[in-house]
Symmetry: C2
Subunit: 241 residues, 2 copies
DNA sequence: AAGGTAACATACAGGCATGTATGTATGTGG
DNA sequence: CCACATACATACATGCCTGTATGTTACCTT
């Protein structure tokens, strides 16, 4: 939902479409441009190193606009976190409910996540999580741990269901396995971002390993990724660097 | 070599052993205590959020001592990076040369790395790498990319050798596979730190997956980890939190 | 034991970024 | 068309942290 707003919110959108525009439009455009610039800045420099003057500048504004749209630096970061979380949930996490088989859901999430990470904004969550992992006193840290906690529970449930149905072999407790699954996803997504098509391939390999599944046969892998690739191609177009 | 110095360099070491101590001893102790405090601080707060006053305070000194032992904040961080890298190489990476079989070397490295990560200082590399990944203009960023690059080459060579000998199945290029292998190690080490024994178990699972190996049989895993555990137990004692 | 030097502690100066207060232009409603 | 609110820009105040300069204590040499 936010994606479309963000996608068209660029530098030229400010003075481009016409001299007459409603206040709500101006506000939405400005907010979107600033959010996107903040997301890029956060993924590049992290929270502490992020200078709000540069964020506003890259969005085509000054700090005045930023402090008019967001209460402070913290609120800006929280808004970015919420936006990325919603986008991820809509583009990737949703598959957890769609697929009927838990194993297929977990593998589909893994593949889509790898594609999702081809956008540079995917780094935001990792960067902030690393920066605030040991600092849960900070509101941003709390928001992140809560967000990750929700996803972890979903994946743990999928793992437990898969084990109950026999499609996933036994192993460490579901929570720890889910944490390992998500950590692997995150790390590989970042590390191999843009190195298509190996990002998807290696992500699936690692995922299968964590879940205790044997390596996929060449034909099965090819078919699965091929069908996923086409369905997933549009994800990368939401935010083109 | 540095490890022993660091291990005995605590707050009480300053005034404990006796009023008479050589200048070199004082310098080494102070440097060690400051390095350890800096490593803890970096892993908790990152580089930008690290206040040198707090580092010095936690080590039992003031900023004056710190600036006497290290030229500036940057040099301090670089010293921490070098120290962690040397420690890792001695305790974990060395296995790459010891083991004769490439596969066994890679799996041994993975297991030992999981144990290595039970120390909180292991987070330092990840934290700094995330903070400086997109900023190679910074000397700390360069030092990190160089350090990671060296390890990546070693692992890529091991993977290539294993594939040549047939013990590792074919897959993505050795460099990308090595990157995925190391990223997985790093992420799981951090995420599962302290969750023994699942950290080792899940790390080995993910590693086998990345390399394209089938899941280890229960007996093989137990035996391997059992022998490793005993040989590796001492590693965690180098720096007890 | 006394001068000298190294190991620190304390005090001072400067920069950079956040947050706020004020000013200006553009849309909005009667 | 005019009062008003909203969207922004500019200017100011504040705080924290780095880096340096100076002072004090402990050790080393002869």
């Amino acid at each position: 939902m936010w994606g479309c707003v963000m996608a068209e919110a660029g530098k030229e959108a400010k003075a481009g479409s016409g001299p007459r525009q409603s206040q709500a439009d101006r506000r939405a455009r400005s907010r979107g441009a600033l959010l996107e610039a903040a997301a890029r800045g956060l993924s590049k420099y992290g929270y502490a190193n992020l200078a709000l003057a540069q964020v506003a500048s890259e969005a085509g504004y000054t700090r005045g606009a930023l402090y008019h749209l967001f209460a402070n630096k913290e609120e800006l970061a929280l808004a970015v976190v919420r936006w990325v979380e919603e986008t991820w949930q809509a583009e990737v996490g949703q598959l957890g409910a769609d697929e009927t088989e838990p194993v297929e859901a977990l593998l589909a999430i893994a593949r889509r996540h790898a594609v999702f990470c081809r956008q540079e904004v995917a780094r935001v969550m990792l960067v902030l999580r690393v920066e605030f992992a040991e600092r849960e006193d900070h509101p941003v840290g709390r928001a992140l741990t809560e967000a990750v906690g929700r996803v972890t529970v979903e994946c743990a449930d999928l793992i437990a269901a898969g084990r109950a149905s026999g499609s996933i072999p036994a192993g460490p407790p579901p929570t720890e396995t889910a944490q390992a699954y998500l950590a692997t996803l995150e790390a590989l997504g970042i590390e191999l971002a843009g190195r298509a098509p190996f990002d998807v391939e290696l992500t699936e390999r690692a995922t299968r390993g964590v879940l205790g599944l044997p390596p996929a046969t060449a034909t099965a892998t090819g078919a699965a990724t091929a069908t996923e690739e086409s369905a997933v191609a549009a994800v990368g177009d939401l935010l083109q660097p």
